[in-house]
């Protein structure tokens, strides 16, 4: 039996309970999600990726369908702060918001997805689950091209939609600039095997501007497995600008299946960053659709993995309008028995002329037990384009190491410095300066092995 069946059964049995603690807009999507899940099932590792969602979801996780409040004392739980950065902070424990939603005079809403969907059902219905039903478009042998309108949905995203009851939403109306970065501190915390269906929805109005920082943490009270099933949907209306950074500092026992969907219209600008500092098994998918001309996108990824951690990054950027620009940079450092996989695909649709798309993947592997797979792909159906990709896998430059040692720097320190420098340009892509400094600090700590449980940043036990 496929492992999704238990969730369908659960849904059928507990439908009333699930609906009761959610909102009609969310409930309206469940039937379709169940149908999709039945049809496509959960994905298996293929094309040289490592993480196996079908196997991960086969375990018997508990879910918090009745929305029992998680006993938390906020001040006790979180001390996460980025020095010199003043943020509006929201707290999420598992998939429940433990802070209050905020609605400003300018119409900016940040907070609970459920509340938003109850208060503004029209807006929520217009955006909720519109992107998540779509995923990688298959290559169509009949038309000899990738059919960008025929979407093949992803089972994991459908499963999230099936069970999702609440989440986080940021709504920025037309023309509003949100000055303070919005920080969402998300904590996985459970005493038994637990699955959280996290959902994030970001709606940027025309000309709106905001930045969002998400810090994912985990705290296990006992020896148990935690799975975070995340779906993030981001809409960028014309000429809006959004920075979206996600920092993962999980435990080795955590599993994470995340899908980020971004839709960008003309003249919009988005920066998406996925930083996996500590992960158990992580699969990040980022799917960016450039629908309007002159849209601009920056996608960054960083991964530091050791022990037997697995990190897959699957990215797909589609240029569907002329004159768009995309820039993608991913870097991996793998140590011990870590396994990493990067699958990056750029598609330029017919007619998307003057496209400027660049993709780079650079990987360092430090031991013979590591395994790194890189698949940078270009699929181009227009002729007036500039596209490139580059991928390298290797080790630290022995000449540079030698040079540093001749200057009296011990070998271990020299290695650290070089690895740190290696990660430099991914971090430099961040558009919030204090966060940049903070991340540099965290990466350095991580390399020094002081960040096995993110003691500094986040959680007091």
């Amino acid at each position: 039996m496929s492992s999704y069946q238990q969730y369908i059964d659960l849904f059928n049995a507990q439908r009333a309970l699930i609906d009761e603690h959610a909102a009609p807009v969310l409930n309206a999507q469940r039937e379709a999600a169940a149908e999709v899940l039945q049809r496509v099932g959960l994905s298996r590792p293929k094309d040289y990726t490592h993480v196996d969602p079908e196997a991960l979801l086969a375990a018997d996780y508990s879910l918090n369908l009745s929305r029992y409040a998680v006993p938390t004392d906020r001040s006790d739980l979180f001390t996460c702060a980025v020095p010199e950065l003043s943020t509006s902070v929201h707290y999420l424990v598992n998939e429940q918001l433990v802070s209050h939603s905020r609605e400003g005079d300018d119409g900016v809403f940040s907070g609970s997805l459920r509340e938003f969907a109850l208060r503004y059902p029209d807006i929520a219905a217009r955006y909720y689950n519109r992107l998540a039903m779509h995923d990688e478009a298959p290559y169509d042998v009949r038309t000899q091209s990738t059919n960008v309108t025929a979407h093949r949905p992803l089972g994991e995203a459908a499963l999230n939609t099936l069970l999702c009851q609440d989440g986080f939403v940021l709504y920025v109306p037309d023309g509003v600039v949100v000055e303070r970065p919005i920080q969402l501190i998300s904590l996985l915390r459970a005493v038994e095997d637990f699955m959280a269906c996290q959902r994030i929805l970001i709606i940027m109005g025309e000309g709106a501007k905001a930045s969002v920082l998400i810090c994912d943490h985990a705290s296990q009270l006992r020896d148990c497995k935690l799975l975070s099933l995340q779906v993030t949907e981001i809409f960028c209306a014309p000429y809006s600008s959004l920075d979206f950074y996600e920092l993962e500092e999980h435990h080795a026992d955590c599993r994470r299946l995340s899908s980020v969907y971004v839709e960008q219209h003309e003249g919009s600008s988005a920066a998406v960053g996925q930083y996996a500092l500590t992960a158990g098994q992580t699969r990040n998918r980022v799917f960016i659709d450039l629908l309007g001309h002159d849209a601009d996108t920056h996608l960054y990824g960083l991964c530091i993995a050791d022990r037997d951690q697995q990190v897959d990054n699957i990215t797909y950027i589609r240029h569907r309008a002329p004159k768009c620009h995309s820039d993608e940079l991913f870097k991996y450092v793998l140590d011990e028995e870590a396994r990493g996989s990067f699958v990056g695909r750029i598609l330029v649709q017919e007619g998307a002329d003057k496209t400027d798309a660049h993709q780079t993947d650079r990987n360092l592997i430090l031991t013979p037990q590591c395994h790194m797979v890189a698949r940078p792909e270009l699929e181009i159906y227009a002729d007036d384009v500039k596209c490139s990709h580059g991928a390298t896998t290797g080790q630290l430059d022995p000449v540079a190491l030698f040079y540093m040692r001749t200057r009296g720097i011990p070998e271990a320190e020299a290695r650290l410095l070089l690895m740190f420098a290696f990660m430099g340009d991914v971090i430099d892509g961040i558009r919030i300066d204090p966060l940049k400094d903070r991340l540099k600090h965290l990466v350095e700590k991580r390399f020094r092995g002081e960040l096995t449980q993110c003691r500094t940043c986040a959680i007091k036990k």
Binding site: Q369, M372, R375, E379, K386, A391
Partner: protein
């Protein structure tokens, strides 16, 4: 392209390009009934008077093939192939005395510019001025294959003096069964893939080369493949063995008549390279590409692989792909010996409705193995051109070095250029680099040429020539000139 060529002639050629090799030769042909089953496999084996082990090899392949699904992963549209509508064996009946070649066939090869008289050289007598300097030094032995049967292998005796075996595959099975049995299927196993299994079951002829220890083959060896009969496919098998410290440069050329139907060509090439030996394999592939509406053309679905078994061995693949309606081809290197080297140089040109999915695999097993991949794709018309490649480094392969560069040039708004590489790295000492760019022809370069009075079309051909030069110059001289012209012809009328 015959007779004295000046630059004006080349330009004249450019304006009147049609597929030049589209004629058929009217010879009496022995064709077996269409369809594929165990009896057909037995019949082919019987016609070739093969020993039982060869028949068993074929039957095993056939049984495996029958159970396999058709692979779908390529970025090409292969219409379902009706295997019951193909005749798997067709050989011209010999009219002349034994050992001689039918005069019609001789004429055909003359027309193609491939001399089957030993005193001639490839292109030498026919091409004239350009090659005169080369002629003196270049002698080439040719194995000419029409449909399913080898017609003639030249210079056999001269090569035999050095202990080199160069003959048709059928003869090799009869005369050197031990050698064939030792190496057949060792590099490309029967169960390697769908098309190699098909080939293993029904292959009819091909070339067999054995270079003994320490021998440097004094001339280029060449196979020339031609599909002549309609309703047939060509399934040739080439096996090249370079013993310790041997060297050989091998060329392969191919053409087919123009036909409305899609003809199937599913070949297997195996190269086994011993310690310190080197094999250079060059292909100029010019099967009939179909007409400009995408009708007809050859399906070129081949498996080519070299095994660098010994330490310090080296293999170099060079290919210029201009023909075929569909190309599905990945000449690969398994670098098993320590310090062995693999190289892949490719230019693939697609025009009209052609589709090419081509690239290479470099499997690094031995220590300090090195590989280099240079792939240049040029797409025009409504064509699709993909590079698909894999670089794999196994855990024990210390000190591996790979450099890959694959560039694509787009000449029309309706074509596609794609890159699908995989880098699978399991050893930390490997240094793997991959670079790819896709763009259209540089407008500044085009403008510069036009400003100096060069017509747009000629300017494009000039720029493309320069773009492909890195690969073309790796070809042996005899092929390089040919390839350069083919490139110009293939992209003609594709500007805009």
């Amino acid at each position: 392209m015959n007779n004295g060529q000046s630059s004006e002639d080349v330009l004249k050629d450019l304006t009147s390009s049609e597929y030049k090799y589209g004629f058929t030769t009217d010879v009496e042909t022995d064709i077996i009934p269409k369809g594929l089953n165990e009896d057909v496999v037995r019949l082919i084996s019987a016609k070739k008077q093969e020993p039982d082990w060869m028949l068993q090899f074929r039957l095993e392949a056939y049984r495996y093939w029958r159970q396999q699904p058709v692979p779908q992963w390529g970025h090409v549209k292969v219409d379902p192939i009706d295997y019951d509508n193909i005749s798997f064996y067709a050989a011209p009946r010999k009219k002349a005395a034994a050992g001689d070649v039918d005069p019609e066939i001789l004429k055909t090869f003359d027309k193609l510019g491939i001399p089957l008289h030993e005193r001639d050289m490839l292109l030498g007598k026919t091409t004239g001025t350009e090659l005169s300097a080369v002629e003196a030094s270049s002698t080439m032995a040719v194995d000419a294959i029409v449909d399913s049967a080898s017609q003639k292998t030249t210079y056999r005796d001269k090569l035999a003096e050095l202990g080199i075996i160069f003959c048709s595959f059928g003869e090799a099975v009869r005369e050197y069964p031990d050698l064939v049995r030792k190496y057949l299927g060792k590099v490309v196993p029967v169960r390697d893939n769908y098309y190699s299994a098909l080939n293993s079951a029904v292959f009819s002829d091909g070339s067999f080369v054995y270079i003994p220890k320490g021998v440097r083959c004094p001339m280029e060896l060449a196979s020339y493949f031609r599909i002549n009969s309609s309703g047939t496919g060509q399934f040739e098998r080439t096996l090249i063995i370079a013993d310790e410290e041997a060297y050989v440069s091998y060329l392969e050329g191919c053409t087919a008549p123009m036909r409305d139907e899609n003809q199937l060509h599913a070949a297997v090439v195996e190269i086994y390279v011993h310690e310190r030996a080197e094999v250079k394999y060059s292909t100029v592939q010019n099967w009939y590409p179909g007409d400009k509406f995408g009708k007809g053309g050859v399906y070129n679905l081949v498996t080519k692989r070299a095994l660098c078994a010994g330490d310090f061995s080296k293999v170099s693949w060079t290919q210029v792909e201009t023909g075929s309606a569909i190309t599905w081809k990945y000449p690969s290197c398994v670098l098993k010996g320590d310090n062995s080297q693999g190289e892949f140089y490719s230019v693939a040109v697609t025009n009209n409705y052609q589709e090419a999915d081509t690239g290479t695999k470099m499997i690094h097993i031995g220590r300090n193995t090195r590989s280099r991949i240079i792939s240049k794709g040029i797409s025009a018309g409504h064509s699709q051109n993909s590079y698909r490649g894999m670089v794999k480094v196994l855990p024990g392969a210390e000190g591996v070095r790979n450099y890959t560069q694959c560039d694509s040039l787009l000449l029309s708004k309706t074509c596609g250029a794609h890159t699908f590489p995989i880098m699978d790295i399991q050893n930390p000492t490997a240094i793997i680099e991959h670079e790819a760019t896709t763009s259209k022809i540089n407008e500044d370069q085009l403008f510069y040429c036009q400003q100096r009075g060069i017509k747009e079309e000629d300017a494009v051909s000039l720029i493309v020539g320069g773009y492909a030069k890195e690969v073309v110059q790796k070809l042996p001289m005899e092929f390089a000139v040919e390839a350069q012209k083919l490139l110009s012809l293939s992209i003609e009328n594709s500007v805009g």
